[in-house]
């Protein structure tokens, strides 16, 4: 498990020192890998763009183009990341245009959108990029005016000197681009920010509302064919035989064939997960024609049996056996109950939990479950590919181009420099598009049919393919002594096919006797990261359990958590506690105060609270539930976040509100179940997604104000929503709900 509180600090490449003037001087190593453009290149750039580094281009007439390194899936990085550059570059945001960068890890960094990591990991490098360029522009002006660079000031894209000389950045850009990249940089103090912390509109908003072709599915080229895949009807099945004759007779159809994804013994990297290796492919001229031809395919499928995969990655190359059974949710649930009784792997132990539980005056034990979830990005999986013997062009929506490139290189037998991946805006991601099997499929299909191809999944293909949020369970136990004091805490979690436990998370560190254990059941149902992996279950179960423990102890649920955090701060138990108790308490206090918790005025609501720490940020919610038309309905939510400096407050608020809606929806409705290996939900008619009339009327979002380096926001607000909903539901219905999704449980009760 990751202990990621200090991960960035450990990896930090900067030596920082505060200057007396309030700025910060940094010795740069990130930028040292950049070369400033040589003279010829600087002057002959297309459209006269002078490129100061990978992120910044300026024209002679002072147009500023900033490059967004990371793909955009709605978390607004195309706005927030350039805002960071613009801040240190010191330009007028009105003059800035933003462009999605090419895939170029050497120049633009990791380019991975996920793990709530974009702003967090690019904060320093982008500030450096902006500051370095600003210093190069000052130096260029200094040389031109024959004055010391230290006397050249900047403001909103204009250089000036006390002698009265001024120049727009554009006038100095070509010269600046030929200067060496400075080694020491002065970064702004947060109090001097003029762009960061000021809300800026989504730079692609205009294109979104006018329906411009932003997304992968919108990309087309001349002569492009449409491809679809037919995957086996159930997990654990494979293709036995097929007859394409009727499908091939259909209008517009070019080819029907069997595609083997990975060759025998292919060493898969961590995100090369694919559910089926044996696909039927239909290629034709238009989407509708391919959809119709698919209906004419005659295919026989058979059980695949156990499948051996070779998986590489951090643990080294190893063989993994994927079991062949055709699984059902019912049997998986029964299996989980059996596994939960067996001994499990110890993940963390403090004190002597066994004795503490034996001597307890009261033991509270509760078990929680949650099903597989499908990501259901609004834009189904798709990718454009044009592969020839010499090179490959791939265009579409994905979260991590750098991860799939080595895989493509092996599959296509092309060197990486012959593979160009262009990133389009994504119609949602939620982790799903880190698994780029669909890109590899598109590439192999294009190579086979020798034409540019757009591979497109239908909604049904997308929902039934796998790469789900795993199925989880956890049993929590709390021991109270005769004075109703919490003396021991035990969590034993498991899942299909992975367990959810983060052993060093709260309340580890706050209880003398603590035990965390995990177990897992192998499965052929493929899984992947889903908005705050593992945390999205833990926060539901643990925060619901803590509510129950607080009640047994006769304590207010917020006060109970604050007491534990006080303990974790003043006298922490064990090592490697991965949260900061002060910041954790901070969001609880903020949400308590903003919501009027414990004060008169909210009597009409059933109130539930939950808080959680993940992906380096802290979140707390209070959910206010009413009964509407006989059903529990979350009408109002208060949220408090601590993610350090908030780059773009209005967009950050939007994302927290969205996470709250997503959390409520998945808590009540989200479930992907199987029967004999086949997904039982195939489209939005039987996979329920929260809708407009089910969303709260008010979601009030508050941020803790501090000057800490920013951390992520895409995932952290999501997990505790589940716990807060569960706790409000208890107040509303008078009984606890332990199994997600809650709606079927509610219906059973009626």
């Amino acid at each position: 498990m990751n202990n990621d509180k200090n991960a960035l600090d450990r990896r930090s490449f900067l030596k920082a020192s505060l200057l007396s003037g309030g700025g910060m001087m940094l010795t740069v190593s990130f930028l040292s890998s950049f070369k400033s453009a040589d003279k010829a290149e600087a002057l002959n750039l297309p459209d006269q763009w002078a490129q100061l580094n990978g992120y910044i281009q300026i024209t002679a007439d002072n147009k500023i183009k900033l490059i967004c390194p990371n793909p955009e899936f709605g978390q607004n990085v195309m706005t927030s990341l350039p805002m960071i550059v613009a801040e240190e570059l010191d330009v007028d945001w009105k003059n800035v245009t933003v462009e999605m960068g090419p895939h170029d890890n050497a120049k633009l960094g990791a380019q991975f959108t996920g793990g709530s990591n974009s702003v967090r990991s690019y904060w320093k490098p982008l500030r450096e990029a902006g500051a370095a360029a600003r210093q190069m522009l000052r130096e260029a002006a200094a040389q031109t005016w024959n004055v010391p660079a230290s006397e050249v000031a900047t403001k909103a894209g204009v250089l000036s000197h006390s002698s009265g000389k001024t120049a727009k950045y554009g006038e100095m850009a070509a010269k600046a681009a030929t200067l060496p990249v400075p080694k020491d940089l002065i970064l702004k103090s947060p109090k001097d920010f003029t762009i960061v912390r000021k809300s800026k509109k989504n730079v692609e908003g205009q294109k979104v509302v006018t329906g411009k072709p932003l997304f992968g599915l919108d990309y087309r080229t001349e002569g492009m064919l449409i491809a679809m895949i037919q995957h086996p009807p159930a997990f654990g099945m494979k293709l036995k035989s097929f007859d394409a004759a009727d499908a091939l007779k259909m209008p517009g159809i070019k080819d029907v064939f069997n595609l083997k994804m990975y060759p025998e013994g292919f060493e898969q990297a961590g995100f090369d997960t694919r559910t089926f290796n044996d696909l039927l492919v239909v290629v034709g001229k238009s989407t509708w024609e391919v959809m119709n031809a698919r209906k004419k395919l005659v295919a026989q499928w058979e059980p695949a049996g156990d499948v051996k995969d070779v998986v590489g990655g951090r643990g080294g190359k190893r063989e993994v056996v994927v079991p062949g059974a055709l699984e059902s949710s019912q049997s998986q649930m029964e299996q989980m109950v059996e596994y939960a009784k067996k001994p499990a792997q110890e993940l963390r132990k403090d004190g002597d939990p066994e004795t503490a539980f034996k001597n307890a005056a009261q033991v509270i034990e509760r078990t929680y479950t949650a099903p597989f979830l499908a990501h259901n990005c609004m834009e189904p999986m798709n990718f454009f590919a044009h592969v020839t013997d010499e090179k490959a062009l791939l265009v579409g929506p994905l979260q991590a181009p750098g991860w799939v490139e080595p895989t493509l290189s092996k599959l296509l037998n092309l060197p990486p420099e012959k593979i160009e991946i262009q990133m389009t805006r994504m119609g949602g991601g939620f982790g799903r598009r880190a698994y780029s099997h669909y890109l590899s499929e598109a590439a192999l299909i294009s190579r086979k049919v020798k034409a540019p191809v757009k591979l497109m999944y239908t909604r049904e293909d997308d929902m039934t393919y796998g790469i789900y949020r795993p199925m989880y369970t956890a049993t929590y136990r709390a021991a109270l002594d005769a004075d109703k004091k919490l003396i021991a805490f035990h969590v034993k979690g498991g899942g299909v096919p992975e367990h959810p436990i983060h052993p060093n998370r709260f309340p580890a560190g706050a209880v003398d006797n603590y035990l965390a254990e995990g177990w897992q059941i192998p499965s052929n149902v493929t899984i992947g990261a889903f908005r705050a992996p593992r945390s999205n279950f833990n926060a539901a179960a643990e925060q619901s359990f803590l509510d129950e423990v607080a009640e047994a102890m006769g304590k207010d649920p917020i006060e109970f958590r604050l007491d534990l955090l006080k303990r974790a701060k003043e006298n922490p138990v064990g090592k490697n506690n991965d949260y900061d108790p002060d910041r954790y308490a901070g969001v609880l206090e903020l949400v308590r105060d903003k919501s009027g918790w414990g004060k008169p005025g909210s009597e009409k609501y059933s109130r539930g609270v939950a808080a959680y720490f993940c992906h380096a940020s802290y979140a707390a919610h209070i959910v206010d539930m009413v009964t509407r038309d006989g059903q529990p309905y979350v009408e109002r939510v208060f949220s408090a976040m601590d993610c350090g400096i908030v780059i773009n407050p209005d967009a950050a608020t939007n994302m927290v509100q969205g996470a709250v809606v997503d959390g409520i929806g998945n808590a009540f409705y989200g479930a992907l179940t199987h029967k004999d290996g086949a997904a039982q939900q195939t489209n939005f008619n039987n996979y329920r997604i929260i809708r407009h009339n089910e969303a709260p009327k008010i979601i009030e979002v508050h941020f803790v104000q501090n000057d800490k380096d920013p951390t992520g926001l895409g995932e952290p607000p999501f997990p505790p929503v589940f716990g807060a909903v569960a706790n409000a539901l208890y107040k509303n219905k008078g009984r606890r709900f332990y199994n997600q999704p809650f709606k079927p449980e509610l219906d059973k009760a009626i």
Binding site: G211, R220, P380, G658, F684, I689, I690
Partner: protein
């Protein structure tokens, strides 16, 4: 295959396609109007919403043969310069996250306001609940519709 002369965004466009082809794919594949989105193909998500004689319809369930002489408006034809009150309100409230569903949301909202210029919250909820937003921007959608209604 058959030829259809369609009235789309004020212009007549001819297409030669299978008469059963849904308008969604006629627009996207044959007329280079990709603003109308595919989300589910079964009229459950609203991403493909267009206007037929001013009424919001799901283009994934509308065969090209059923359009006849009716006028079709897509997001590309809703306004000339992104200045329809609903589009302006969407920008003012910075509604979009991923943005994929928003053209469908805007088309549904524009049709709602045409018929009901000052909708109540309940009317907005009733009309907009056929459009899924997976990012959960429903609050801003509602606020944007209310802003647009005032203009």
């Amino acid at each position: 295959m058959a030829t259809f002369n369609l009235k789309i965004n004020g212009k007549t466009r001819a297409v030669d396609v299978d008469p059963a082809t849904p308008m969604l794919w006629v627009l996207r594949d044959h007329l280079d109007l990709p603003g109308t989105k595919y989300g589910c193909g079964i009229a459950q998500c609203g991403a493909c919403t267009i206007h037929l004689e001013g009424n919001a319809v799901r283009s994934c369930q509308l065969p090209v043969s059923a359009v006849g002489k009716a006028s079709v408006t897509t997001i590309e034809g809703l306004s000339q310069k992104a200045d329809h009150p609903v589009q302006k309100a969407w920008l003012e409230h910075d509604v979009a996250q991923c943005g994929y569903c928003q053209t469908g949301q805007i088309m549904t909202a524009a049709a709602l306001l045409k018929r009901t210029p000052n909708p109540t919250d309940e009317e907005i909820e009733a009309q907009m609940s056929g459009n899924i937003c997976r990012c959960g921007t429903y609050l801003r959608i509602k606020e944007a519709i209310k802003s647009a209604a005032k203009k």
